[in-house]
Amino acid sequence: MSFEMWAEKYRPKALDDMVDQKEIVERLKSFVKSRNVPHCIFAGPPGTGKTTAALCLARDLYGEVYREHIMELNASDERGINVVRETVKTFARVRSIGEIPFKIMILDESDNMTTDAQQALRRTMERYTETCRFILIANYSGKIIEPIQSRCAPFRFTFLPREEHDEYLKHIAEHEHIKLLEDGLDAIFEVCGGDLRKAINTLQAAASLNKPVDAKVVYSIAGRAHPADVQKMIEMAVKGNFLEARKQLRGMIQKYGVAGSDIIRQIHLEIFKVEIPEPLKIKLADVVGEIDYRLVEGADEEVQLSALLARLVEAGYELKKAS
């Protein structure tokens, strides 16, 4: 076993290595061939290869010295307008020396940029097109302002199909000499929902236990990644104890740094497992979806999820009344 983060170690290095997103990869390869790249938006869910595609494109284009020609900025860490005015602009306006006359600026998680910063970016993209091309990476292209969208070639990334997901994990397991069982694979897919980075992290954490990776191991990892158990919180809410359930939620978010999107995904899975009237499941799914969307819009995780807990309290109450 090797001691790096496998998610990084097994990141494809060239477009040819990318197993998935075939159409996108083909188009990117044609950019490399013509030695010209337009401004791009890579949009899609996490763990589907957006950042990887951008890095592979750069490497194929510039060769091993690609780092000298690109800059990676992460809008989650540097989201303000000043970054655009200073860092981005300085990088964009200086001409690259070399065969290819432009550099590439990769703006990762750019849906977290403020509107101001995006407005400032719009001009910069236009003015320095000659010397710099932008690749904006985002989970939701809807959060990128229209004028920027219209200047970019859009690429929509989708979750990996099951076979490719499995193939990739098997490939890693083989290289790392770990035993990955079929039901383990099923479990990883269920828990991670096709997010490859998460799947690889789960696999690595499971491998650290030094035993064959089966469904039981995977579920225990997933459970431990979210220590204060989502299920327990749901039970409390359904029993009508809103305040306790909220306290549990608060602990998960604040103490253990569990992501709201992970909690909501688990709630969504649970809803269809618990014994409540079938029509109620759909009604709840609607609420879960709405809350999920609000989280995506950047709302407060605890406030939104506790609104969801209130719905569970209500569902539990209806259930008791009916029986």
């Binding site: 990762d108 990644a225 569990v258």
Partner: protein
């Protein structure tokens, strides 16, 4: 019985009095001048805001120079007759056995027109004719009542000592009470007192007595203390509001900002709405208020604030359809704010590890701390060898390893392997 620390730790020597070095020097020089005969101004008039050491200066000085201190304050009657009787005793005759004497008339602001009739006039007479040093103390020497009196007095202004000086005093108390206090907790108390040393000591006692250790989180909530009374009635207006407009009006009465008010409502509304349908309506409203807060953030358009207010006040008020008011439920300080400040250090550590991951894994520190950390914790708990490899690869420091490993032993074992 606990003694009040303001008394227990009152300075007994001028060296312990904080701040006001100039004023104190001026006073000491003036008293010394009495040795060469009666000076032109026979009374010193100390003035300045409360709690900054005016009285203490006189007491400490008397103690240092072994002088007898004769004192009268607002708790005594101070009519013309009473003061004359007192003044006759105190100022006209030198004391027995050659001990020098100093006379203190404190809290002159408290002289009342009727009960202390003629008091100021009597004091003025004493100031004119005194044979021993007289010290007068008031918050405001420029009160028109004192206009004639002022002519016979050496005016000495006392100013609010800076926070650093207040901290010095608090530190002396910490030592003698054997309490360990975080520097920024001390600073917070000192700054909050705005130079009023007495109130700082009172606050400090209330927070620290009986503890061995006082940290910043123990004191930071004080910032809200003064405002709680008014926030309670605001909350009542919102959670028990009958009309939209009355609930919305409550916002104007609150002297906390909208975000803080939101936290108060979010913390307290559920306990006051026990019917599940009411609860859902209230939480939905708060959720919508929060959505509008997000829209303000992303558009920078603050005019959306009005919808935030609609949902968090009127929305919550209208949620009550079935819940009957039952008994008394206390309002609570927003727990999540308290918890946030407690877990601050922990979150900073998580983000720092996030930055280490960012350098290697092409992901923002913020997301890395959420997406990678849970798995790293599992690895650090179960597989020291892999953990050590990762620690090396990510260039984690000792503190970070400790944070990720579940026990000290494991952290040690991992650190050993890293070497």
């Amino acid at each position: 019985m606990y003694a009040a620390w303001t008394l227990k730790h009152k300075p007994t020597s001028l060296a312990q009095v904080v701040g006001n070095k100039e004023a104190i020097q001026k006073f000491v020089d003036w008293v010394k001048s009495w040795e060469k005969g009666v000076p032109k101004k026979r009374a010193a008039f100390f003035y300045g805001p409360p709690g900054i050491g005016k009285t203490v200066t006189v007491e400490a000085f008397a103690n240092d120079s072994r002088m007898e201190l004769v004192e009268k304050n607002a708790s005594d009657y101070r009519t013309e007759d009473a003061i004359n009787r007192f003044a006759g005793l105190a100022s006209q005759y030198g004391s027995l056995f050659g001990v020098k004497r100093i006379v203190l008339l404190d809290e002159l602001d408290g002289l009342t027109g009727t009960a202390d009739r003629g008091g100021v006039k009597a004091i003025t007479d004493i100031a004119k004719n005194a044979q021993v040093p007289i010290v007068l103390i008031a918050n405001n020497a420029y009160d028109p009542r004192f206009s004639n009196l002022r002519n016979y007095c050496l005016l000495i202004q006392f100013k609010k000592p800076p926070a650093g000086e207040v901290m010095k005093h608090l530190r002396r108390i910490c030592e003698s009470e054997e309490i360990q206090v975080e520097e920024n907790a001390l600073k917070f108390i000192a700054q909050r007192s705005e130079g009023d040393v007495r109130s700082a000591v009172n606050d400090f006692q209330a927070l620290a007595q009986g503890k061995r250790k006082l940290i910043y989180e123990d004191v930071s909530w004080l910032a809200y203390r003064d405002r709680q009374e008014s926030i309670f009635s605001v909350l009542r207006m919102i959670i028990y509001g009958r009309t939209c407009s009355s609930a919305k009006r409550a916002v104007d009465m609150a002297d906390v900002d909208i975000d803080m008010l939101f936290e108060w409502i979010y913390e307290n509304a559920p306990a006051h709405l026990t019917d599940p349908h009411d609860l859902v309506r209230a939480m939905d409203s708060l959720s919508m208020a929060d959505v509008y807060r997000g829209r303000i953030r992303s558009t920078r358009d603050w005019s959306f604030t009005r919808y935030v207010i609609d949902f968090m006040t009127a929305g919550v008020a209208m949620a009550r359809q079935n819940t009957k008011a039952s008994g008394w439920i206390p309002f609570k300080f927003p727990q999540r704010i308290q918890m946030l400040s407690r877990s601050k250090a922990q979150r900073a550590m998580q983000l720092n590890i996030g930055y280490k991951i960012k350098r290697k894994c092409h992901i923002s520190a913020v997301r890395a701390s959420k997406e990678f950390l849970p798995y790293l914790r599992i690895i650090f708990k179960n597989n020291a060898e892999m953990a050590a490899g990762l620690a090396k690869w990510l260039d984690l420091d000792q503190k970070m390893i400790e944070h990720l490993a579940s026990s000290e032993e494991k952290a040690k074992a991992i650190a050993e392997l890293v070497r």
